[in-house]
């Protein structure tokens, strides 16, 4: 390079005291969250399970998005993302925690899913699906998919950590080999859980696109989380040089692209159903346009697509840390709204409604995820220091 960058180096390790302070803060929030959630479960199980489902979906979609993105980075051999990859991997590593977080759901199936209730066996349409939509298989599929995702997450994370010490190129290539079948497993798995967890809330309704939309939303939310995390670490003096404006520009472009992709698949599903206008399909949207739910839908159109589309288009916005932080936070909120709008109209049939348990459950699941995430950085580097492409990434410059 003709440029003479004064390559200042960052501290890649969080001091143990700071680390423990942050861990304690998250732990405190998590304990409060779970106390609240348990109190909700004891007093009002129905609201608890509905709120918990949305909170669970929000958290796991981000972890799945992380796994997807890490594997894609390995497959494309990308250099620009190396300095943020450890944060991605740490998010991906939260997947095993969802084996525990998933456990409450099978207990509340009767509150949530019509097909699990007594009448289903007599329903002419639902009885055709009983071989798939039943409590045993729902539980087995859930644990199986999360288990497989966790396996890949742990293997890829272990390889990356091993490389911190050895710097072996072979580990990069091995991660690439694991990622190819991994992406396939992730596609199939997240489709299945998308069908199971959300689509089957309306057990008569079906859409082949549904799993893709679930994955797209999660990938976008994951990108927003990464941006927020990088900026949070930066404001505390970490990753100041290793994640510079050029990297934020690229992260911003990814956030933008994934947001547009979500809009593309969501619109395709909506438009095709609107156009064919068949009652058994349009009912899904009709329920979600009932009463004040319509305003939530319109908020999604504006806030999850149109406004960020125009606002995030200029180069300057993606290169400004303040603007990027705002849109990342905003799109996370929109992702939660999206899931809420997909799930809750089944429960609040006449219009928008929300229980105090929704934010409480969200705090509980997200802080649990946060604890696992943060545990990856106890005396361990914030950046994959042994990655052979690290140097290339530090010198990276946008065209």
């Amino acid at each position: 390079m003709a440029h003479t960058h004064s390559q200042e180096t960052d501290a890649y390790f969080v001091p143990l005291r700071t680390w423990a302070a942050v861990r304690n803060a998250i732990l405190f929030v998590a304990v409060l969250g779970w106390i609240g959630a348990l109190a909700g479960y004891a007093t009002d199980p129905e609201h608890f399970f509905w709120s918990y489902l949305v909170a669970f979906l929000f958290s796991i979609s981000i972890a799945i998005g992380a796994a997807f993105f890490v594997m894609v980075q390995h497959l494309t051999g990308s250099a620009w993302s190396v300095t943020v990859r450890r944060l991605m991997e740490a998010l991906m590593r939260t997947l095993p925690a969802f084996l525990v977080l998933f456990a409450p759901l099978p207990l509340g199936l009767h509150y949530l899913y019509e097909w699990s209730r007594a009448g289903a066996a007599k329903d002419p349409l639902l009885k055709l699906k009983i071989g798939y939509l039943n409590e045993q298989w729902f539980t087995i599929r859930g644990f199986l998919v999360i288990g497989l995702l966790s396996l890949w997450a742990l293997v890829l994370y272990a390889k990356s950590r091993k490389q911190d010490d050895s710097g072996a190129v072979r580990l990069t290539l091995s991660a690439e080999r694991w990622s190819a079948p991994g992406v396939l497993m992730l596609f199939v798995g997240s489709s299945i859980v998308g069908f199971d967890w959300i689509m089957s809330l309306n057990p008569r309704w079906y859409s082949t696109m549904f799993g893709v939309i679930f994955l797209a939303g999660g990938a976008m939310a994951f990108m927003a989380v990464i941006i927020v995390l990088c900026l949070w670490l930066r404001s505390n003096g970490y990753l100041v040089h290793s994640v510079n404006t050029e990297h934020y520009h690229d992260l911003g472009k990814w956030l933008f692209m994934l947001m547009v992709f979500w809009a593309y698949v969501s619109f395709s599903q909506y438009m095709l159903i609107w156009y064919a206008n068949m009652p058994e399909e349009t009912i899904w949207f009709k329920n979600r346009f009932t009463g004040s739910w319509l305003y939530v839908a319109l908020l999604l159109v504006a806030g999850h697509f149109i406004v960020p589309l125009f606002a995030m288009l200029p180069r300057a916005v993606k290169r400004s840390r303040g603007a990027l932080a705002f849109f990342a936070g905003w799109l996370l909120l929109m992702h939660y709204t999206d899931l809420y709008w997909q799930v809750m109209p089944v429960f609040y049939k006449s219009g928008f409604g929300m229980s105090w348990l929704s934010p409480v459950c969200l705090v509980a699941t997200v802080s649990t995820m946060g604890l696992v995430f943060w545990s990856s950085f106890r005396e361990k580097p914030l950046v994959p220091v042994g990655d052979p492409r690290l140097k290339q990434c530090l010198a990276f410059h946008n065209a």
Binding site: A2, H3, Y270, M271, W274, Y275, L313, R315
Partner: protein
């Protein structure tokens, strides 16, 4: 030059015969992009402002070296895209819901859902035309004659040479003397090029 008779006449500025610069400038011929960039930086420090580089592929960092701002093409394209989007809405609404109302399968005469594909396509179409035609306009293309082509090795710029022209319009332009300066910066062949 002595004050000419014409200068005293009340004729508009643009009609006055201009003093034709007899030369385009001095052009040097470098082996590598790095040598070219080094030469540009040295000359910029020395106070030269009107320079132009020629290369077979875009060189990273040359705009900063030459002090060129970012291209304004982005704004042209955005404008065209918005026109395309608005035009598509207008076209579909006016033809479908105003000028030629035809009930097809009970669908609304105009609705956003089925209008989105054409809205998107026309936005892209106009944006693409704006990008290419805007680039032509900014680059003054096609321009089939340019003084640079008088350089005996102008063809090198489309093959494997990296050329640097110090234009005659530069206030510090000193004709033949510059050739030695360019040679000293690593130019393999420097030449005073006719306008």
């Amino acid at each position: 030059m002595a004050t000419s008779f014409l200068d005293n006449l009340p004729i508009p500025e643009f009609l006055k015969p201009r003093e034709e610069a007899p030369h385009y400038g001095v052009v040097g011929d470098f082996d590598t992009p790095e040598e070219l960039l080094r030469a540009i930086r040295t000359l910029r420090v020395a106070g030269f402002t009107k320079m132009e580089a020629y290369s077979p592929f875009p060189i990273h960092g040359i705009d900063e070296a030459l002090g060129e701002p970012r291209s304004p093409l982005g704004r042209i394209v955005i404008t065209a895209a918005v026109v395309g989007l608005a035009g598509a809405v207008a076209l579909q609404w006016w033809t479908g819901a105003v000028d030629y109302k035809l009930n097809v399968a009970g669908k609304p005469l105009f609705a956003l859902e089925p209008s989105v594909p054409i809205m998107f396509e026309l936005t892209v179409l106009l944006a693409a035309f704006a990008a290419v035609l805007g680039m032509f306009y900014l680059n003054r293309m096609p321009t089939y004659y340019h003084a640079f082509f008088n350089f005996s090795r102008a063809g090198g710029a489309s093959n494997d040479r990296f050329l640097l022209a110090v234009e005659a319009a530069d206030p510090k332009f000193r004709g033949e003397e510059l050739k030695t300066l360019l040679d000293s910066l690593g130019s393999r062949h420097s030449e005073l090029v006719e306008a």
